[in-house]
Amino acid sequence: MPFWTLFWVIVPPIFLIVSAVVFYVVTGKKEEM
């Protein structure tokens, strides 16, 4: 399997989920303040 295929199959989902979690935490803290 070519490297770039593996990269685009695996990295975007991880990146998006991490972004969504960061968004959840940061916006939660803002609302607490």
């Binding site: 969504a20 979690v21 916006t27």
Partner: protein
């Protein structure tokens, strides 16, 4: 009774019961259109996802992966990024602003936000919605014909008739309460189907290693995300796939979900839920096509969009296949009903209530909404009968139209204080003209997906005209 048919019928009965139970909850137009802004994060996230993803995801994207291999990953990457962006940067501000201005629909929001007494924004937005949604709904009827044809061997025509009748029946009965709750249920069935089929297929092929070898044996280019293409041909595929994600923020039936949530705070949880759902569903859809490639090879299907129902009926026990097929029907129903609802609310609320008869009773408006749903459904059905395009292409056209007309205006309205109503209107016109011209001039359409020029030209128009008119103001 055939077990596949039984699974399918049970699914339809559950959907109709949910529709009938929530029918009683619709007392006012706000209930019919936005469920009285009473929905929780799980229902809103699942219903936004279920109505956002239509037969395009269950039927079209696996079909693309079947004929182009891993190259089909680009629409998945573009769409999931667009979904997250929309939830992060559009949902919260739109929910808060739409309640502040008492807006029920997107045209309603634009008019209230800019205090547009001329009605130009409302009328233009409504016409755009009615025009593009009719194509979108037609694509769902077309897909219903294909799925029921492969599964139950009935003709595509009668498949379309059955699909259209079911969708119309429960949109007319329930309104947004029914649509949102049935969407929640359908979102569950869709993601179940999209995860189950590829996992089962890869297992049958003897694991990931032999699945990869099988694909390579048909054509090594299928393993490449460039699809074995070079130069502009590759860039066109990559950009075209990624750009689909630009369309999310301009879809009236999806942003209506953001307006319907109970509290702005619930959108935080909704963002997480929707992102996870989207990743499972999109990667699942691409892998359905790839597994189909491994199992059946290239050129086995007269119509590439038959792969998903074909795989379900071949790999699964009949009763489970019935549920999986229901997943595809769920995708069509959940999108078409939401779009019918937005179209009908555009007619009943944006035109009739606001412009023709301000003192119309709530009962009269709800009745008119139902009548409008019926009329739009009939036109979409006639369009589906004469359609020559694939579901994939027909949906992308309507998607581009709505994304380019409303996305730039909504984004700048929420994030740039200098945006003016003239700017938003210019964006709608530039977006619409660009999409229609680009799609119909074959040399342009073959060079690049129309949403890219449509979105950026419309963005430029909103920005440029707003700069000029805000200075004057």
């Amino acid at each position: 009774m055939n077990p596949t048919l039984m699974g399918f019928v049970i699914y339809l009965v559950v959907v109709l019961v949910v529709g009938l139970l929530t029918f009683r909850l619709n007392r006012t137009l706000a209930d019919f259109v936005l469920a009285g802004r009473k929905l929780g994060p799980w229902v809103v996230a699942f219903s936004e996802r279920a109505s956002g993803e239509s037969a395009w995801l269950l039927i079209g994207l696996p079909g693309l992966a079947l004929v182009s291999g891993y190259n089909a990953i680009w629409p998945a990457v573009g769409c999931t990024t667009g979904i997250l962006f929309s939830w992060m940067f559009i949902s919260r501000r739109l929910r808060a602003d739409s309640e502040k201005f008492g807006a029920l629909t997107l045209p309603d929001f634009f008019e209230a936000r800019y205090d547009d007494k001329s009605r130009l924004l409302r009328v233009t937005a409504t016409l755009i919605i009615v025009f593009f949604f009719t194509f979108y709904v037609a694509a769902q009827f077309l897909a219903a014909g294909k799925v029921l044809n492969v599964t139950f061997h009935i003709t595509p025509f009668w498949g379309m008739v059955i699909g259209a009748c079911i969708i119309l029946f429960y949109t007319i009965m329930g309104g947004f309460f029914a649509v949102a709750w049935t969407d929640f249920f359908q979102g569950c069935v869709m993601v179940f189907t999209l995860v189950l089929l590829p996992v089962l297929g890869i297992t049958l092929l003897g694991g990931f290693g032999s699945f990869t070898q099988k694909i390579a044996s048909h054509n090594p280019g299928f393993l490449s995300v460039g699809g074995g293409q070079q130069g502009w041909a590759m860039m066109k595929t990559v950009l075209g796939g990624l750009a689909i994600g630009l369309g999310y923020m301009g879809q009236p039936h999806l942003v209506a979900r953001f307006m319907a949530i109970r509290k702005t705070d619930a959108l935080r949880q909704g963002t997480l839920i929707a992102t996870v759902w989207a990743i499972l569903a999109y990667w699942g859809a691409v892998f359905i096509g790839l597994v189909g490639l491994g199992l059946y090879g290239v050129g086995q299907f007269a119509d590439q969009e038959q792969i998903m129902p074909f795989m379900a009926t071949n790999l699964l026990p009949a009763w489970l296949a019935g549920i999986a097929i229901s997943g595809a029907i769920a995708a069509m129903m959940s999108t078409a009903d939401s779009q019918l609802l937005v179209t009908t609310s555009a007619i009943s609320e944006d035109i009739y209530h606001q412009m023709i008869r301000k003192d119309a009773s709530q009962e009269r408006l709800v009745r008119l909404s139902r009548l409008a749903a019926m009329c739009v459904g009939v036109v979409a059905f006639i369009l589906a009968l004469s359609a020559k395009a694939l579901v994939y292409d027909l949906v992308l056209y309507a998607w581009a139209g709505l994304g380019a007309c409303f996305g730039p205006g909504l984004l700048l309205t929420l994030w740039w204080k200098r945006t003016t109503k003239q700017g938003v209107w210019a964006g709608m016109i530039v977006g619409m003209v660009t999409i229609i011209v680009w799609y119909n001039v074959s040399i342009l359409h073959e060079t690049l997906y129309e949403l890219i020029p449509g979105f950026f030209l419309a963005l430029g128009a909103v920005w440029g005209v707003s700069l000029i008119t805000s200075k004057k103001g």
